[in-house]
Subunit: 145 residues, 2 copies
Amino acid sequence: MKSLKLSSNMEDYLESIYNLEKFNKVARVKDIAQWLQVKMPSVSGALRVLSRKNLIKHERHGYVELTASGRTIAEQVQQKHQDLTDFFTGVLRINPAQAARDACRVEHVVSRTTMNQIKKFMRKSVNQKKTKKRKKNRYGKKSSR
Amino acid sequence: MKSLKLSSNMEDYLESIYNLEKFNKVARVKDIAQWLQVKMPSVSGALRVLSRKNLIKHERHGYVELTASGRTIAEQVQQKHQDLTDFFTGVLRINPAQAARDACRVEHVVSRTTMNQIKKFMRKSVNQKKTKKRKKNRYGKKSSR
DNA sequence: TATAATTATTAGGTACGCCTAACTTCAACC
DNA sequence: GGTTGAAGTTAGGCGTACCTAATAATTATA
């Protein structure tokens, strides 16, 4: 391991590469820049750092690719992002656009503990809803929606 | 208005001054440093910035005091902090220490919209609990605790 | 009141992350 | 194969926020 803790910004770069690989097949400097709303030289700089940490593979003027360890980190961040978005929209009833914006920023600062509790809470809410429905049906009341 | 958006760090400085004024009557450079786990020169630097923005009053070697506008910001941040802490402990069942740590970081990145929904959600949970209790009592079951 | 200890400031340096401007490389087309 | 435009890199600069070391001011104590 080169260094253990990754900055929020570097996590964002990894996450954007991950998403671009997923949606565009390949990740290019220009697309990363556009995704993150920064200029290309900022991306070049970041890629140099991530390369040195062996989180990406990147040859001059070539596509950017995640390494296995880079992918692991990206997936973790992405998962947090997804879980937070679900929580914000599903539980807190935030509109999707705002939920995404908040998730983007919260995902870098929220603890593992809290993420776990959030997921636990969501599982519980789902069960409660199911239970409610069952009860209503059992008592012959019309189910909501 | 000098400049509109304050960095997370500057918000932290304001918040710590606010808390120190509240708990210690006065805020001193040394105490701020201790509170935020930074060295005194970092505090001196930050205070210069906040002074220029008219958010604090600070004469060389004197106590630090919030101005009206500084206090307003500090109170807003502090309120978010409190609401998030309540949410984390009360709803998500996070232990108080971890809740405080998360609140400290989330308070700077979460949107107003989401904060509002969090508060709404908490009010709703409280009501639901009350309702449950009432129901239980009405049906003659022993109330929890 | 002079000295010691504490508190605060200034000076100067580092790391990060962004930018613009200038240059290079690549690919695509004539 | 040379030209041209897009994509990418390098160079150099800026702002933020932290640090250590050195210095200054204040407060406490002998």
